[in-house]
């Protein structure tokens, strides 16, 4: 709007609320506010009347009372005497567990399929297109149920592993696929440094973080040397040693050994049990979301114009370095935002756990707790709050990333 054509600001009259574009938005917002207040008041009064008729009130005290049900797969100590709050916490941890696992494997599937879809090999290209189309166009719920059915109906019972000439044998000498879940060897420490098991693994993690910093320092040193002399020293065996040696020594001191699951009575004992529902959910989410990620990766790589590759080649870079230094940094800018929203989708889709009986937060808080206490409104609100927190924090991370890689235009 230019100043010249603006009419001189005269006295404000009431009719200007309708006729003058400067004030009309105020009118609209006033009407909208009134409608909003009216709608909220209407819904709230309905809620109050209905609750009063049903003899209910909004109260969160049920969270502190014993839950009274068992959960088959827990990451923290839990029994039926624990509170509903703890049941919800178990569910939250299970949700985070399956989402985290699925994010990692979905990325691996997706990147592999996306790169292979651009392969020069016709057969591989078509196979990957087939994979993407099949998995993108069939509901994830069907995939979850199909894989769950494979886990429960096709896998042998633990008793099939019994005897001198069993029907089934352990894969790789230590992994048993049964219809009650998959049993894998569990790591044990013979002479741990701390009495609490968790602290030992935290120590291992700290060593790994230290190795990461060490490896980075070596790389910085190599770059500095390259800048000074023009020759980059060979560093890969240094980096490999930094990654392996300290952790290896630590684990050797603590006496790491593997506990192989053994058949005892009717079931396996020892090792780590991964329940069928967890596997079904994990695998289905990864393979389904992998198909979407594959499309993102393909689009990202195709978005980099061929001139970039050619320019890099004409500068004398070898194909591997062209990929690492020129194509990937640019492609990642395109790939990562949709990738993160796929991670968000995995987290939200993990709520389908309820269909196969995996105890995630939807199944504990929104399922059994809700049905046992009848506190529908409270449970659903808490459930939504949890998912909202996760989504908003992932969005925040994405925004920070987007701003950091934004093309700086002047």
């Amino acid at each position: 709007m230019t100043i010249l054509t603006d009419p001189p600001r005269g006295q404000f009259r009431l009719s200007m609320l309708l006729s003058d574009t400067r004030y009309r938005s105020l009118t609209f917002q006033g009407i909208a506010l009134l409608l909003l207040i009216f709608a909220i008041a209407y819904l709230a009064s309905n809620l109050m009347t209905n609750l009063a008729q049903a003899g209910l009130s909004i109260s969160y005290s049920f969270l502190a009372s014993p839950s009274g049900y068992d959960i088959n797969q827990t990451l923290i100590p839990y029994n039926s005497q624990s509170t509903n709050m703890r049941a919800a916490l178990v569910g939250i941890l299970n949700t985070l567990l399956v989402s985290g696992l699925a994010c990692v494997t979905a990325t691996i599937f997706g990147v592999t399929a996306g790169v292979l879809r651009l392969s020069k090999n016709w057969l591989v290209r078509k196979m990957m297109a087939f994979y993407v189309e099949i998995f993108r166009n069939i509901p994830v719920l069907i995939w979850i149920i199909i894989i769950f059915t494979i886990m429960t109906a096709v896998m042998p019972a633990p008793s099939a592993f019994r005897g001198d000439d069993p029907d089934s044998t352990m894969v790789l000498g230590g992994i048993a696929f049964t219809n009650r879940g998959v049993y894998v060897p569990g790591p044990l420490l013979a002479n741990p440094i701390f009495s609490a098991t968790v602290l030992n693994w935290v120590l291992v993690l700290l060593f790994l973080v230290g190795s990461w910093f060490g490896a980075r320092a070596v790389r910085t040193w190599a770059t500095a040397k390259q800048e000074a002399t023009g020759l980059r020293p060979t560093t890969w065996y240094w980096i490999l040693a930094i990654w392996i040696v300290p952790v290896g020594i630590l684990l050797a001191i603590m006496g790491l050994h593997w506990q192989i699951p053994e058949l005892k009575g009717f079931n396996f004992a020892g090792g780590i049990k991964i329940g069928g529902p967890l596997i079904a959910l994990w695998f289905a989410l990864s393979i389904y979301t992998g198909a979407f990620i594959a499309e993102n990766v393909r689009a990202g790589i195709q978005a980099i114009s061929k001139g970039q590759t050619e320019a890099a080649s004409s500068l004398g870079l070898r194909p591997g370095r062209v990929m690492n230094l020129v194509v990937l940094p640019q492609a990642l800018r395109v790939i990562i935002p949709p990738l993160i929203s796929q991670y968000l989708n995995i987290t939200k889709n993990s709520s389908l756990a309820i269909a196969v009986g995996y105890a995630d937060v939807t199944a504990t808080l929104g399922g059994i707790t809700l049905n046992q206490t009848g506190r529908a409104i409270e449970c659903v609100l808490l459930l939504m709050l949890f998912y909202l927190t996760i989504s908003l924090s992932i969005s925040a991370v994405m925004n920070i990333y987007n701003n950091s890689v934004k093309l700086k235009e002047r």
Binding site: A32, N50, W122, M127, K348, N349, Y387
Partner: protein
């Protein structure tokens, strides 16, 4: 150098060699094979691995499908017919065909009604999807919601007629007053529709016939793939206009309207659909007036529509943001007011950009309608996991049933995405 060479040459060809076909390695199938499958050692290894994988899959699946039994009354009978061979038991599909499509409580003598509604739906969608068809077919599209409602639910004929008349009244008022002032026409149209509906509602109650022509079918009797189709079609068509409104609201200069839209969109996009379905099944009833009975189907439609409208709003917002600013300024400089600028200049272009995104949301939503089985509605998945697998005849027939469900969804979703790609090419007006 030059002359020594000339003397040393024993033979010089004087005539042109006749053209000969390229070597066999450089043409046709061998060339294609070499370039696409065996160009290097790594590529050859990849080809062999892929061929092996395909062989493994086919060798286990093909006998299973080809030996399939199509005519039996139970799983044990299937096994007798197969006599130890591997083979599928597709008999469950033929025997439970109607249950898979219509659910197990929809009256079997009324199956022709949903089938007819489905056929009319195809006719109604055709002119919307393919622009070359005669425009007169749009009449069917306009009438379709009312006909479909009447066919599927039955009940007194007056109900859909009154609903239709209300819409006509609203449209007439809007087209009369909307030209001069959009807001007057819009709100006047809504008021007119409501007046017709409330008068008509009284009329329907007064002349309610004892025996309506069409037997009424309650919503809880709907089921099977029909339920998935109904939820998908209804919610997508309702959420597109809602999504446009939300997207415009999010772009608005008015802080209150913008805040409401942003909160709504971000809230809905932040929670999984399952929690919204929980809201529909256990919580939403508390927000309706005490004596009203809003059935589960309607509550689910409300929640799914809200869900998909938030996603569609984000897609359309992307389309609005992608338009060059010059388009907005050009519309302003022509002296168009906001509704005119939106209707005539901005939205047609923005919607065209958003079509692939909207189709993606629609496909995703259609797949997500299977989630209603979690809140114990008997859609296709609910039917399979509930009544069919729980029956004594067919317990244990997993692959045939889930394979069938997967195939149905694949055909529909793949079809829609192929259509969207065709439409994108068709609407492309940029330089080729």
């Amino acid at each position: 150098m030059a002359d020594t060479h000339a003397h040393s040459v024993a033979f010089v060809r004087k005539d042109v060699i006749p053209e000969s076909p390229p070597p066999a390695r450089q043409t046709g199938v061998p060339k294609w094979l070499r370039e696409n499958l065996f160009s290097s050692w790594a590529n050859t290894a990849l080809t062999i691995a892929a061929a092996w994988a395909i062989y493994m899959v086919l060798s286990s699946f093909l006998p299973w499908i080809l030996n399939g039994v199509w005519d039996a009354s139970s799983l044990s009978q299937c096994r007798e017919i197969l006599a130890g061979k591997t083979g599928a038991c597709f008999a469950v599909l033929t025997e439970r065909w109607h249950q898979l499509l219509f659910g197990f409580t929809y009256p079997s003598e009324l199956y022709w009604r949903p089938v007819l509604a489905f056929i009319i739906m195809l006719v109604a969608f055709a002119p919307v999807l393919f622009f070359d068809l005669p425009r007169q077919m749009l009449v069917v599209t306009v009438l379709f919601p009312f006909i479909a409602f009447y066919l599927i639910w039955g009940g007194p004929l007056l109900t859909p007629i009154i609903a239709f008349l209300g819409c006509v009244a609203g449209y007439l008022v809007f087209s009369h007053y909307g030209k001069a002032n959009f807001a007057t026409g819009f709100f006047g149209g809504i008021a007119a529709a409501f007046i017709v509906w409330s008068i008509g509602g009284l009329l329907v109650d007064l002349v309610r016939p004892e025996e309506p022509w069409m037997t009424p079918v309650p919503s809880r009797d709907l089921g099977g793939f029909m339920l998935n189709m109904m939820l998908g079609v209804t919610c997508v068509s309702l959420s597109v206009p809602l999504g446009i409104v939300l997207a415009l609201g999010r772009q608005s200069d008015m802080p209150l309207i913008k805040a409401v839209c942003v909160i709504f969109i971000e809230f809905i996009r932040g929670v999984p659909l399952i929690t919204l379905l929980f809201v529909a099944s256990v919580m939403l009833a508390y927000f309706f007036p005490p004596e009203s009975t809003v059935d589960l189907f309607l509550r689910v439609v409300i929640m799914i529509t809200m869900f998909s409208s938030a996603y569609i709003a984000e897609v359309i917002r992307g389309g609005l943001a992608a338009l060059p600013k010059g388009q907005y300024e050009a519309a302003d400089s022509l002296g168009l007011d906001y509704p005119q600028a939106m209707r005539l200049i901005i939205l047609p272009q923005a919607l065209k950009i958003s079509i692939p995104g909207i189709v993606n949301v629609a496909v995703g939503l259609f797949k997500d309608t299977t989630l209603v089985s979690v809140i114990s509605m008997f859609d296709l998945i609910g039917m399979i996991r509930g009544p069919i697998l729980a029956s004594t005849e067919w317990s244990g027939v997993y692959w045939e049933l889930f394979g069938f469900a997967a195939l149905l969804f694949f055909v529909v979703c793949y079809g829609i995405s192929q259509y969207s790609q065709w439409l994108e090419r068709r609407l492309a007006t940029d330089h080729r």
